[in-house]
């Protein structure tokens, strides 16, 4: 009796302690969480952080280097670069999250149906993904944006439409493997419905993959949208989109490199942060890691 109580105590405290050890002991995760929190904080408190409105021009202070003309210098219209990059985080995060949400939902659902049902459902979905896959994504996105007209929302739609195929393919393969697992067969023997099997048995076992995919494609989504903005198809000029700022800096790359360098660094940091976060989460979320 005493022994059993002691055992229970050991088990209980081990679980609580192991959770903390796992979370804190994962350096990748902690670094990712830190960068993610930083970017989120910047986006949330942009109004407080920014020194001036992102579109306030001061033509007397054009192309000032960092230090003299504000923390990160000024651009060709004398706008404060720090404030523009800070506000840019809002656009980047919003666009990235929306794109990733759309492509995850679309790709995962397609992949689940294709992998679970097989047959003609699989053939139809597989050929659509193959066609999407075969075209260069930026070219396809360019075509879609040109057809819909240049705007940030159309860029979001275009990027989501060209990038869900990767999810669909991977989830399809994963589903094909999982649907033959005995626990799925057990679920069918219990009379579980197809939808329930797909979304409650198979889907949770793909979470590790989905999280990695989502974090890996979030920087990709930010990069693609900034690329389209850079090309003039996404956000339109006064907007502090990192792609727009990069584009504006191109003409002053030799005399005022900071205009392009800082939004570029912001993109790199955000991308790195999400990658570390995703890798860390994958390790922690796998229940088998908990022992």
């Amino acid at each position: 009796m005493k022994l059993e109580l002691a055992q229970r105590e050991v088990n209980g405290s081990r679980n609580a302690r192991s959770w903390r050890t796992i979370l804190l002991g994962n350096g990748q995760l902690m670094a990712g969480v830190f960068i993610f929190a930083l970017v989120m904080a910047v986006a949330l408190f942009a109004d407080g952080l920014a020194l001036r409105p992102y579109d306030a021009m001061d033509l007397g202070n054009r192309l000032q280097p960092p230090g003299t003309g504000g923390p990160l210098g000024t651009d060709q219209f004398g706008r404060d670069l720090f404030s523009r990059v800070v506000y840019g985080s809002r656009i980047a995060l919003r666009v990235g999250l929306i794109v990733v949400t759309i492509e995850t939902v679309l790709g995962v659902t397609m992949g689940l149906f294709a992998g679970y049902y097989g047959g003609w459902v699989d053939r139809v979905i597989a050929s659509v993904t193959d066609v999407t896959w075969a075209l260069p994504p930026i070219v396809l996105a360019l075509a879609i944006v040109t057809a819909l007209g240049p705007s940030l929302n159309n860029v979001i739609i275009a990027i989501a439409l060209v990038s869900w195929a990767g999810y669909a393919r991977l989830i399809r393969t994963k589903t094909q493997g999982l649907k033959n697992m005995p626990f799925v067969e057990a679920a069918r023997a219990l009379g579980e419905s197809d939808l329930s099997i797909m979304f409650r048995y198979i889907l949770p076992n793909t979470f590790g993959l989905v999280i990695v995919l989502a974090t890996l494609s979030l920087p990709g989504a930010i990069l693609s949208t900034t690329a389209l903005s850079f090309l003039g198809l996404g956000s339109q000029p006064p907007a502090p989109d990192w792609g727009v700022i990069l584009n504006e800096g191109i003409r002053h790359l030799y005399d005022a490199p900071w205009i392009s360098v800082f939004p570029g660094l912001a993109i790199v940091c955000t991308a790195l942060g999400f990658n570390l976060l995703g890798e860390g989460l994958r390790d922690v979320l796998d229940p088998r890691m908990k022992v």
Binding site: P182, F183, E185, A186, A187, A189, L190, G191, E192, P287
Partner: protein, 329 residues
């Protein structure tokens, strides 16, 4: 054959056939079939255990999956309490799923690694009953204790348990809806020998207290011996012998059964038994040998064995054999 103590049999399987198509070539045309189950007939009385034995690849598991309608049959009939399992519409099938359950071979892959034990065992209740959460939890804890685990184990994940404990979880899940029939598909072959007997004893105890009927699949007779009332021996998709367990172990008739019985380990180092060890491998079920499927490995094959297939006929009360050695002439 139908003479069972409780009147109508619980389960009747008639001429059950399952062929898997073999596709080849660019057009994926069906070039051949794997004859996994090829005309199996048997009846199972209430409260009894039918041991189904045979080498790996002889179609035992396929037979079980077809009976449970987890995969469609090619032809044949399965009657469970007067209902045609293979033909009933979806809503009746759902009802049947409550009454026919299955325990799987591999306790590691048959439990969803993302669900807690409590949810795994409660799942059948949420599908088939209108029980509230607390009622389900109470039933789950009760069942976990019945199978020898603790009620508080409901909050843990499958990976925290050993193989034997996981198999107990699988048994609790199969038991939670009070089924009438449980198909045990090699439930102990993935476990240590010391754990095997614990699980077999548990299954025997549960059968007595809940009046369960089992189909118990195993690839060796030594496991079957502990649990079965009747034994059916399967070879390459066909039954070759079926009889009472005692009769089978005392006087096996079919040469294949005799080889299997001789292969049961004897716990006596002095007993130097001459073993009629089986030679060779099981032939391919894609092109099974003509005539008796066992004649390629049989030590007593007669000339007609390679030409005509021996039917499964009754040689004495409740004892059926498919072998030319016992067919009159």
């Amino acid at each position: 054959m139908a003479g069972t103590p409780n009147g109508t049999p619980l389960l009747q399987v008639t001429d059950l056939v399952k062929y898997f198509p073999v596709k080849a070539g660019a057009l994926q045309r069906v070039v051949n079939h794997v004859r996994a189950v090829d005309g199996v007939t048997f009846t199972l009385a209430r409260g009894q255990t039918l041991g189904l034995v045979g080498e790996s690849g002889c179609g035992k598991t396929t037979l079980a999956r077809v009976i449970l309608r987890l995969i469609p049959a090619t032809s044949g009939q399965v009657t469970f309490e007067g209902r045609e399992v293979l033909k009933v519409p979806a809503d009746v099938l759902r009802q049947l799923r409550r009454e026919m359950q299955v325990i799987f071979q591999d306790p590691f892959s048959s439990l969803n690694p993302r669900m807690k034990v409590g949810s795994i065992v409660a799942e059948p209740l949420s599908i088939h009953t209108a029980m509230s959460r607390t009622e389900r939890l109470r039933r789950v804890e009760e069942l976990l204790e019945v199978v020898g685990l603790a009620g508080r184990d409901a909050t843990r994940y499958p990976h925290e348990f050993s193989g034997g404990q996981r198999q107990r979880i699988g048994i609790a899940r199969a038991l939670v809806l009070n089924p009438k029939l449980i198909v045990c598909d090699e439930p102990v072959s993935a476990l240590d020998v010391s754990i095997q007997s614990q699980i077999l004893n548990l299954l025997n105890r549960l059968q007595k207290s809940y009046g369960l009927t089992y189909i118990f699949i195993a690839h060796g007779l030594h496991v079957i011996k502990h649990v079965s009332d009747r034994v059916a021996v399967m070879y390459l998709g066909k039954l070759v012998e079926e009889t009472e367990a005692d009769v089978l172990f005392e006087g096996p008739l079919h040469p294949y059964t005799r080889a299997l019985v001789a292969a049961i380990p004897v716990p006596d180092p002095a007993a130097r038994k001459i073993r009629a060890a089986l030679q060779g491998d099981v032939p391919s079920p894609i092109n099974p040998p003509p005539g008796c499927r066992f004649h390629t490995r049989c030590t007593e094959a007669l000339p007609q064995c390679s030409q005509t297939e021996p039917p499964l006929v009754q040689v004495s009360a409740g004892h059926r054999v498919a072998c030319h050695l016992y067919h009159g002439a």
